[in-house]
């Protein structure tokens, strides 16, 4: 019964947060809601019996990929307009809704952890099974993923390097 309550609460939060994220005018606010939506999806993963996927969702999606987004928004350097938005971020009506949703997720986490026995979930897939299958039958997919990541690395390095070089050129030209 507890699983059902957790699942429906988390999926409602995920849907509402996604809709709010895609209708914001400000990219930083949208990212806050998107991180909330990813955390809620991680709860859904845990409840349907995939704890390893839930951990990866939090660490890689809500952690690493969102940090990339935030870095780029900082690099774009929106200037004066950015400063005004930064001040707006401290107003309660900006952060109160994400905080409420996150508190609901925290309550769910405490509920799960306070059970004396681990949640009995049908079809639980342990990280050990995932690892054995990943480096067994799927080892070719790991190689393909590594080549894809290498291509992404080279591509982003190429695009970003030109941005940095020409930015330096422009600033030195402006000084002389």
């Amino acid at each position: 019964m507890l699983e059902l309550v957790l699942f429906y609460t988390a999926s409602t939060i995920a849907l509402v947060a996604t809709i709010l994220a895609l209708t914001r005018a400000n990219a930083t606010h949208a990212l806050i809601y998107l991180i909330l939506s990813l955390l809620a999806v991680a709860v859904v993963f845990y409840v349907i019996g995939a704890p390893f996927a839930a951990a990866l969702e939090v660490v890689i999606y809500a952690g690493a990929i969102m940090v990339l987004f935030i870095f780029v928004i900082m690099m774009l350097n929106l200037g004066d307009k950015g400063d005004r938005r930064e001040k707006q971020l401290l107003k309660p009506q900006v952060w109160i809704v994400p905080v409420i949703f996150t508190l609901v997720l925290l309550v769910e986490l405490v509920l799960v952890l306070s059970q004396s026995t681990p949640a009995e979930i049908q079809g639980l897939v342990t990280p050990k099974q995932v690892g054995l299958t990943l480096f067994g039958p799927y080892v070719l997919a790991v190689e393909i993923a590594s080549m894809l990541l290498l291509a992404g690395l080279v591509g982003s390095f190429h695009l970003g390097r030109r941005y940095l070089d020409e930015g330096r050129e422009n600033s030195s030209r402006g000084r002389s």
């Binding site: 699983e3 849907l15 993963f45 009995e120 639980l124 690395l153 030109r162």
Partner: protein, 104 residues
């Protein structure tokens, strides 16, 4: 046993609704950062479908496809954000409609 299992239909419904949200966002927003966010939402919703199907039959394959989707999303975001930097430098705006003409 002893616990009530979550119906697969409802998880797939959640996945479909998230995908629709992402698709609508992709079609309606013109800011390139929001387009990338919508792509993330769509990739994430397909990952939900894979993990749910994998968990329904107790097989680890769904989570392995989820990890591959993570790799795809990471590579896509890295290249996409590089393009965002280029777009901002060339057109001084993040609007996709400013960049819909080719040189030629």
């Amino acid at each position: 046993m002893g616990s009530v299992s979550i119906p697969l239909d409802h998880v797939l419904l959640l996945s479909a609704l998230l995908f629709i949200c992402g698709l609508l966002g992709l079609m309606m927003r013109r800011n390139i950062i929001f387009i990338l966010i919508s792509l993330e939402v769509m990739l994430n919703s397909s990952a939900v479908a894979f993990v749910a199907a994998g968990a329904r039959w107790g097989q680890p394959d769904g989570q392995i496809v989820f990890m591959l989707i993570l790799a795809v999303a990471a590579a896509e975001v890295a290249v996409g954000l590089g393009l965002v930097l280029q777009l901002q430098r060339r057109f001084k705006s993040l609007d996709m409609d400013d960049a819909n003409r080719m040189r030629g």
